[in-house]
C-alpha cells in the first residue's frame, strides 16, 4: 500500500512545470487570446519537441506509454499555466481512445505516430459535451453517432464557432454526416470506447481545475502580501487570511481524490466512474472557491481585464461544466452512495 508518487513521476512534473513557466507566461496567453485561431503553433511545436504529445502513446508506436496516474500530475500543470492549447484532448483523451481501437483499423498506428510526433490535432466530440472543443483547428475529429465511433477528417465537417467567456477555449458546433468510411467502432465496442473516453475527459478537466485553483491561490497570496491598506499588507488581516486558508484546504483535500480516481481509471476498477465524478466535483469546487475568494482578495483589481487572475477564473468557470456538469457528476455519486450495492464505510477506500 503506497498512495504516493515515485521520484520519477515527481521529477517529470517538475520538468513540465519549469518548461511551461518559461513558454506559457501570462503575457503569451494574452497574446494568443487576441488571435483568430486562439492557438499558438509555436507553443504546440515546442510542446511536441519536449515529447509531451507522446506521453500516452504506447511505446511500440513511438510514445512513452504513461498512464492516467502520471497524467493527473500533467493536467494540473496544464491548468496551472492555463495553456491555450487542447493538448490533453489530443495527447491524452484521443490517444486513449485510438490506442484502444482494434489493430484492424489500418490508420490506428499512423494516428498514434502522429500524436506522438505532434503533427496532428484531434478534437473529441463526446455526447456529454454539447459542443466540440478545438473542432475548428483540428485535423481529425472523433465523433459519436449513437454507439458508433467515427474518425472524421476536418475537411468532411462544418464547424460553427461558439465563442466562450474563456477566449482560449474554441468551441464548435459540428455539422457532419456519419458514413461507413469514417466508422471505426460500433456496438459494444463503441459503447465501451465512449465510456472510457468520458472518464479520461473528466479526469483531464479535473486535473486542470485543480491546477487552476492552485494558480489562483498563488496569485492571490502574492497580491495580498504586497497590497497595503491601513498601513499594512492586506494579507495580515484575518478576514483575508481565512479566505485563502479555505482555498488551500480545499485544494489539499481535492488532490488525493484526483489521484485515487486516476488510479481507478488506469486499472479499470469497477468504481472508477464514482471516483472520477468525486474528483471532478472536488476539483471544480476548489477552483470555483479559488476564483471567488481570489477576486475578493484582489478587490477592484480582480474585476479588471488587466490583472491576470481573470484568465484563470474564466478557464475555471468554463471547465467546471465541461465533461459533465455538477448535476451529472452528483447523480453518478448519488447512484453509488445511495444504491443498494454500495460498499461504504471504513476499509472500503481501496478495496471492495
Amino acid at each position: 500500500m503506497d498512495f504516493t508518487f515515485n521520484d520519477d513521476q515527481l521529477a517529470f512534473r517538475e520538468a513540465v512545470s519549469r518548461f511551461l513557466m518559461t513558454e506559457a507566461a501570462p503575457e503569451m496567453l494574452r497574446e494568443v487570446w487576441e488571435t483568430d485561431i486562439g492557438r499558438s503553433p509555436d507553443l504546440r511545436h515546442k510542446i511536441a519537441e519536449q515529447g509531451l504529445t507522446a506521453l500516452s502513446v504506447p511505446e511500440d508506436c513511438g510514445g512513452l506509454g504513461m498512464d492516467d496516474v502520471a497524467w493527473s500530475l500533467m493536467t494540473q500543470e496544464l491548468g496551472y499555466y492555463a495553456i491555450p492549447d487542447s493538448l490533453a484532448d489530443t495527447a491524452y483523451v484521443a490517444a486513449g481512445l485510438i490506442t484502444a481501437l482494434p489493430d484492424s483499423i489500418a490508420t490506428r498506428s499512423e494516428w498514434l505516430g502522429r500524436i506522438a510526433d505532434g503533427s496532428i490535432r484531434i478534437a473529441v466530440g463526446h455526447p456529454v459535451n454539447p459542443l466540440v472543443a478545438d473542432a475548428q483547428p483540428s485535423d481529425l475529429l472523433l465523433l459519436s453517432h449513437d454507439d458508433e465511433v467515427h474518425a472524421v477528417p476536418r475537411s468532411l465537417v462544418d464547424v460553427i464557432a461558439n465563442p466562450s467567456i474563456d477566449l482560449s477555449r474554441r468551441l464548435g458546433h459540428v455539422v457532419w454526416e456519419p458514413s461507413s468510411a469514417t466508422r471505426v467502432a460500433t456496438g459494444d465496442t463503441g459503447r465501451a470506447l465512449w465510456a472510457a473516453v468520458l472518464e479520461r475527459g473528466v479526469l483531464s478537466v479535473a486535473g486542470q481545475l485543480l491546477g487552476l485553483a492552485q494558480r489562483m491561490l498563488d496569485l492571490s497570496v502574492d497580491y495580498a502580501a504586497q497590497r497595503k491598506q491601513f498601513g499594512k499588507a492586506i494579507g495580515s488581516f484575518q478576514a483575508v487570511k481565512h479566505h485563502l486558508a479555505d482555498v488551500a484546504t480545499r485544494i489539499e483535500f481535492a488532490k488525493p481524490v484526483l489521484y485515487r480516481a486516476a488510479h481507478a481509471v488506469a486499472h479499470g476498477e469497477d468504481d472508477a466512474p464514482v471516483r472520477v465524478s468525486h474528483a471532478k466535483l472536488a476539483c471544480g469546487e476548489a477552483a470555483w472557491l479559488a476564483a471567488r475568494h481570489g477576486i475578493q482578495v484582489h478587490g477592484a483589481m480582480g474585476y479588471t481585464w488587466e490583472v491576470d487572475l481573470q484568465m484563470f477564473m474564466k478557464r475555471a468557470w468554463a471547465l467546471d461544466a465541461s465533461w459533465g456538469d455538477r448535476g451529472f457528476h452528483k447523480s453518478r455519486v448519488a447512484g453509488f452512495v445511495l444504491g443498494d450495492a454500495a460498499a461504504l464505510g471504513p476499509g472500503r477506500t481501496f478495496e471492495e
Binding site: V69, A225, A245, E252
Partner: protein, 388 residues
C-alpha cells in the same frame, strides 16, 4: 503508487476484525463523561491492551505491537467499523504518548508509556487557562524550582474528564520573569498530589465532561518534566501537531459516521426528501469522509518516505471538525421533530445517539485549537502571509 494491501496487512486486518467481532459488546457502554461509564471504558481499554490492541503503533516493549502507520490506519478502520467504544484515554495515548516518545528520557518512557497503554493511568490535559485559550502563550500558572521539585501555583481549565483522571500533563511558567512562549516547561502532575483541587464543569450534554483545576503549592519532582526546562512551548507545539493531525481523529471514525448517515437517510427517505438539499448533503458527507481517508493515506505514504507532518495538520483539523458537524447537522434535519429527544425518551429510538454526537460535534471546531487559529496557521505557515 501501489494500492494493494500486502498479505501481512490483510492478515492483520482479518485478525483485528475477528477479535472485535468477538469482543465488542452489542450493548453500548455508559457515557465516558460519567464515573460509571469512565470505568466501563477503562475496563474495555484493558481488554484491548491484554490483546496488544490498545496502542498498536507503539513498540512492543512499551505495550504496543510495533505496527507501522498503514497498519494503524487499518486498525482504526476496523475499530470504528465494528462500533467499538470511543477511546477514553485519548489525551494520554494520542497526545502525550507521541510527545513522550519524542521528548521523554528512556526512564520516563518506561515509567509512563506501558501504564498508559494499559490505561492503568488515565491522563488529563492542562493547557488552557481562564485567560489563555486561543492565546495559549498567555499562560500564567507557575512551576517554580525548589531543589529537586517544582512548586505549582495557578489554574487550568477545559480539562477533559479530569475529575476521573489520575495524571495531568500541562504547561507551566518555570521562569517567572519570562513572557509569552519563553520560559515555559512541560510538567506531569499526579492529580492526587496535595494542593490539587479539581472542580467539574458541566458540558453541553449536562455531564461533568471537563473540569477546572487549581494548583496551590503543589510539589512535583523535577523528574516529571518532559524536555528541557524552559522548552515547554516547543514540546507542547509538537503535541499540538499530533493532535490536529491524524492521530486524534483517524478517518475510520468519519467514514463510519458517513455510512450511518446514509443508512439513516435510507430509513427516512420519504420524509427526508421533502427537503431537497438533504440528499445532496448525505452524498457530500460520504465524499468528505472519503477525501479525508484518501488524504490520510497520502500523508502516511509520504511520512513513510521520510516527510514530516507539517503545517498541513491544520487543514486536517478544519476538515474533520467541519465534516463531523455537517454530518450530525444533517442527521438532525433528517430526524426532524424526534431529533431533540434524549436517550431516556421512550420514542427516541435511533435518534438519541445522533443527538449525543451532534452536541459533541459542536465542540470540534473549538477544541484542539479553534478553527480560526488553524486558518491563521495555514495562512501564515503554509501560504507565507504576514502575521497580524
Amino acid at each position: 503508487m501501489d494500492l494493494a494491501y500486502t498479505p501481512k496487512q490483510r492478515v492483520f486486518r482479518e485478525e483485528v476484525r475477528a477479535w472485535l467481532a468477538d469482543n465488542v459488546s452489542r450493548q453500548p457502554l455508559a457515557s465516558y463523561d460519567t464515573k460509571e461509564g469512565f470505568e466501563q471504558h477503562r475496563e474495555w481499554e484493558r481488554r484491548l491492551f491484554d490483546h496488544r490492541l490498545s496502542m498498536v503503533m507503539w513498540p512492543e516493549a512499551l505495550g504496543g505491537r510495533g505496527c507501522d502507520l498503514i497498519e494503524w490506519l487499518i486498525f482504526e478502520e476496523e475499530y470504528y467499523a465494528s462500533g467499538a467504544p470511543l477511546r477514553v484515554n485519548q489525551n494520554g495515548q494520542l497526545l502525550l504518548g507521541p510527545t513522550l516518545m519524542e521528548f521523554g528520557t528512556e526512564a520516563q518512557k518506561q515509567r509512563f508509556l506501558p501504564r498508559m497503554a494499559a490505561s492503568e493511568d488515565m491522563w488529563a490535559q492542562g493547557w488552557s487557562e481562564p485567560n489563555a485559550g486561543s492565546d495559549m502563550a498567555a499562560i500564567t500558572s507557575k512551576a517554580i524550582r525548589d531543589g529537586d521539585h517544582y512548586v505549582l501555583n495557578g489554574q487550568k481549565t477545559w480539562s477533559t474528564r479530569a475529575i476521573y483522571a489520575d495524571w495531568l500533563f500541562g504547561l507551566f511558567r518555570s521562569d517567572p520573569a519570562s513572557s509569552r512562549h519563553h520560559g515555559l516547561s512541560f510538567v506531569l502532575v499526579p492529580l492526587d498530589t496535595p494542593g490539587v483541587t479539581i472542580r467539574p464543569i458541566r458540558a453541553l450534554n449536562g455531564k461533568e465532561a471537563f473540569a477546572e483545576i487549581f494548583f496551590d503549592d503543589v510539589r512535583v519532582p523535577v523528574d516529571n518534566r518532559i524536555g528541557d526546562e524552559g522548552q515547554g512551548w516547543h514540546v507542547a507545539m509538537a503535541t499540538a501537531g499530533f493532535e490536529r493531525g491524524l492521530l486524534l481523529r483517524s478517518p475510520g471514525r468519519f467514514q463510519h459516521t458517513a455510512r450511518r448517515l446514509v443508512a439513516l437517510y435510507q430509513a427516512h427517505r420519504e420524509t427526508a426528501d421533502r427537503d431537497p438539499t438533504i440528499r445532496d448533503t448525505v452524498c457530500e458527507s460520504w465524499m468528505g469522509a472519503e477525501a479525508y481517508a484518501l488524504a490520510a493515506y497520502h500523508t502516511v505514504g509520504r511520512l513513510a518516505k521520510g516527510a514530516r507532518i507539517g503545517d498541513e495538520a491544520s487543514t486536517n483539523k478544519i476538515v474533520w471538525s467541519e465534516l463531523d458537524l455537517k454530518m450530525h447537522e444533517t442527521a438532525m434535519r433528517i430526524l426532524g421533530a424526534r431529533g431533540e429527544l434524549l436517550a431516556e425518551a421512550p420514542d427516541a429510538g435511533d435518534a438519541a445517539s445522533w443527538l449525543e454526537g451532534f452536541l459533541f460535534a459542536q465542540a470540534g471546531p473549538i477544541y484542539a485549537g479553534t478553527n480560526e487559529i488553524q486558518r491563521n496557521i495555514i495562512a501564515e505557515r503554509m501560504l507565507g502571509l504576514p502575521k497580524s
